[in-house]
């Protein structure tokens, strides 16, 4: 079982968003089945005529769990890809606000780290 993305989901972020929406839909589906199970109304009147307990166990084993694993496999994968993505031209000390009290010594230490890195490159 694999996650099928809409064509417009092209970035890691948009794929993650799809996965989290799918996870919420799966949770709602699980709980709807759970409501029926608790009410004793989970019934398949087909040839095999499965009833409440068996259907609830089958739902969890053959439907919920495989879907959940597929969704969470993708969540893990997209988080990993997003953290290594170079799509955005950003820098941690520019794009994340820094405490103005801390910043003077922080910037000095940062400069020293960069100087050491330059020396090592040379």
């Amino acid at each position: 079982m694999i996650v099928s993305y809409p064509l417009s989901a092209t970035t890691e972020a948009s794929k993650l968003s799809v996965c989290y929406r799918l996870d919420e839909q799966l949770r709602e589906e699980h709980n709807a089945f759970g409501d029926l199970y608790r009410a004793g109304q989970l019934v398949d009147t087909g040839i095999d005529a499965f009833y409440n307990e068996a259907l609830w166990m089958d739902y969890q084993r053959y439907i919920f769990m495989p879907k959940s694993k597929a969704i969470h496999f993708e969540i893990g994968k997209q988080i990993e890809l997003a953290s290594k993505s170079i799509y955005w031209d950003v820098a941690i000390d520019v794009n994340v606000a820094t405490d103005p009290i801390i910043y003077p010594w922080y910037s000095k230490v940062l400069q020293r780290i960069r100087d050491i890195a330059k020396l090592e490159v040379i």
């Binding site: 199970y37 609830w56 694993k69 496999f73 893990g76 988080i79």
Partner: protein, 214 residues
Amino acid sequence: MAFEDFTTYIETDPNNRFSVAANAITVTALSRDEDAWLIKDRGAGHFSGDFEHLFKYTPATNTNRAHADLLSLANIVDDVNGIDTAAGDLLGVWYFKSDSGVNQYGLYEIVAGTPYQVDTSVTNHSVVRYPKFKRDEGVGTYGTLYLYIYSDEARTILIQTISLTLHEKEDFRYNYVMHSYDDNNAAYTLGGVLENLDLQEAVAVVNSNFFTFF
């Protein structure tokens, strides 16, 4: 269902934080400045492959930044932070109250002293929950850890799911319950009741063949 008998676990509790009954541990003011836990030695490599552990947890009085692992698997004996600094390995479910007062669950993996974690974020789990802690080694390169959090004992009402892609395949010897996180912060304390831990391990089948001699 076969619930763990906590009276058979080895207890480390120098400050009397735990009250232990057969299927329940009541914890009061467990701080982040002490080594305390219940542990069982299952033998080297006991927790291998997939597992699915069920339990019930009812939070009580927690300060902000209270933190402990409700369940852990590890190969050395120490508090959670001690295992981290000793470059050990661990899989665990932690409970934490944030600075903004949100009671969170989290999944924790430590690989040779490198920690990886994920938490339930903004959902406030301040009431009784029935978590399912699960490892599936068939998902991803090294497997995936899951925490399914339910609000009912039959686990029909799912509140939240979190997962952590694992970074190594590791077998574990010890299982801990109410495993303290000691980072010398005595002011942060946690309380609650952990009950009905079911490791769902297969029970050895006793040979029950009968031979009738005539």
